[in-house]
């Protein structure tokens, strides 16, 4: 009887400790940010790296998601004879939901894992300790630039995903199935609201940027400095970041849904 109860107690205690520790690390990370303003180059270099990591996968995925939206959307709308609303359906699905969410999931798998492995291996190779001994704070020099780069890159990637997705929907819907081109674009233009749809999508992807990038960096920073420790941390990044994105998406959608 004591076994499960004590296991539950230990789990709760460990979870609270971990959450507290993650919060403290997050605040320490934010505290190092003013120093970064003097060296914006550190961040822009990382935006370049992290953006490049994910650009191809984001572009290709966006295109295929757009193709599928074109097909499925046409199938549904055609039943009601309103296939000219296909452009609107594709654009709203992408900007409000699929763009931010799928980008964040792909980002966690592509850039997130590589951030975790990079930081974890730097730790295992004593590079972070060496930096500390050189009186350089690794949180400020290594972690914070990657964090802000992730936060900046995420909405940019989501925008690219949505834009490419719309083109995918156009290719399937207009060029292949033959939906009226004028209706496709004009319905989209009339129906997509810059604040309610686009801005809310951007807010989502910024929040996901915070969550995914911090998860990846924290897992790397706290990884056991061994090969299996880094492997486990990389797996945890994908699992935790993906689940976080999905529940945050529900929360944000509920908040934005008026």
């Amino acid at each position: 009887m004591m076994g499960p109860i004590s296991a539950l107690g230990r789990w709760v205690r460990e979870s609270v400790t971990n959450a507290g520790f993650a919060t403290r690390t997050f605040l320490a990370l934010l505290a190092t940010t003013p120093g970064l303003l003097r060296r914006p180059r550190l961040v822009t270099d990382q935006v370049h790296f992290i953006g490049n990591y994910s650009l191809v996968i984001i572009g290709v995925s966006g295109l295929f998601v757009g193709f599928v939206l074109g097909l499925q959307g046409y199938y549904t709308l055609n039943r009601y004879g309103s296939e000219e609303a296909l452009g609107l359906l594709v654009a709203l699905s992408l900007t409000r939901e699929l763009g931010p969410v799928v980008t964040a999931l792909l980002f966690a798998g592509r850039a997130g894992t590589s951030l975790t492995a990079e930081i974890g291996l730097m730790k295992a190779g004593e590079q972070l300790a060496a930096m500390e001994m050189m009186a350089v704070n690794p949180l400020q020099r290594v972690v914070a630039p990657r964090f802000w780069a992730g936060v900046i890159a995420m909405p940019l990637l989501a925008a690219i995903f949505s834009a490419v997705g719309v083109v995918g929907g156009y290719i399937v819907g207009v060029l292949m199935i033959g939906v009226d081109e004028g209706a496709f674009w004009s319905q989209m233009q009339a129906g997509v609201d810059v604040w309610k749809d686009i801005a809310n999508g951007v807010i989502k992807s910024v929040v996901f940027g915070f969550a995914v990038t911090f998860t990846a960096l924290f897992q790397g920073y706290e990884a056991q400095p061994t090969p299996e420790g880094v492997a486990r941390a990389t797996t945890r990044t994908v699992v935790i970041a993906s689940l976080t994105v999905l529940w945050l998406d529900f929360l944000l959608t509920a908040l934005m849904f008026d």
């Binding site: 590079q127 300790a129 060496a130 500390e132 001994m133 050189m134 009186a135 350089v136 704070n137 020099r141």
Partner: protein, 267 residues
């Protein structure tokens, strides 16, 4: 001149496992002091305590007159600017070239113009004999060379204290001689103080002014290399003459072999 580093009544343990107990050590300025002992005797822990990477449960470490306090990060970052540390495997930044590695502390802590940084880096690399390897990545050089690059990086800001964690481990005899020679030469040229943690008796005795022997977290003997060679202390004798058995047992402590053989296969 007061000592650069003073350790008094230092106790440290990982959880319930004691690592260091009641250490008293002095590191006079300008000297090369070696800390010797078997693997797991707590040698590296001493360096980490001096560098303020971990906190002792009891006792003090004093560096340049100030007490090291790992919890005061502003104080520690200030102190570490006067320290250089050579990690066991070099700990070079693998994404940077040899040149960029040595330039790293200069770029982080000074606002020197790029031409001056270039000259300083090349001089430091020249001192360790690797000026012509400046453009290579850490993956392209040997372990011994990587450690020399790390040494050039550790002395980039001309520190008062240079700490070496197993500088000879895993090196071939030539690289070992080169490393030992460098430690002594750099210490004297920079007017710094060096702490060498090692278990390599021959190379360490060649360059050290003073030696501390550590066993199971305690200082068991200390003196000049000559005194240590002549020491009758059983641990020092076993260590200096590399005897397989002595105060440090060959077998990991536990049950006797006969007991284990009689137990049969566990069901």
């Amino acid at each position: 001149m007061p000592n650069l580093v003073d350790i008094s009544d230092l106790h440290f343990s990982y959880g319930a496992r004691p690592i260091l107990a009641g250490l008293e050590m002095e590191f006079p300025r300008g000297k090369v002091v070696a800390v010797m002992g078997g693997s797991g005797s707590g040698k590296t822990t001493i360096l980490r305590l001096i560098g303020g990477q971990i906190t002792a449960q009891k006792g003090t470490v004093r560096f340049d007159g100030r007490i090291v306090n790992a919890r005061d990060s502003a104080l520690m970052y200030d102190m570490r600017r006067k320290m250089g540390m050579l990690f066991q495997h070099g700990a070079l930044f693998t994404d940077l070239t040899v040149f960029e590695n040595v330039a790293f502390p200069l770029r982080e802590h000074t606002r020197l113009p790029e031409e001056l940084i270039r000259d300083l880096v090349l001089l430091k690399l020249h001192a360790v004999g690797l000026r012509n390897a400046a453009h290579l990545k850490p993956a392209e050089i040997s372990g011994g060379m990587a450690r020399r690059v790390a040494l050039a990086r550790a002395i980039a800001l001309d520190p008062q204290l240079i700490m070496y964690d197993e500088p000879f481990a895993g090196l071939d005899p030539i690289s070992m001689g080169v490393a030992a020679n460098l430690i002594r030469r750099l210490n004297d040229a920079l007017g710094s103080t060096s702490i060498v943690v090692s278990h390599d008796v021959h190379e360490t005795f060649l360059i050290a002014d003073y030696v501390y022997f550590l066993s199971q977290g305690r200082i068991v003997a200390h003196g000049t290399p000559q005194q240590m060679r002549a020491s009758e202390d059983p641990y020092v004798k076993q260590f200096v003459h590399a005897e397989a058995d002595g105060p440090v047992p060959f077998h990991y402590p536990g049950r006797a072999l006969a007991d284990d053989l009689m137990r049969g296969v566990p069901q």
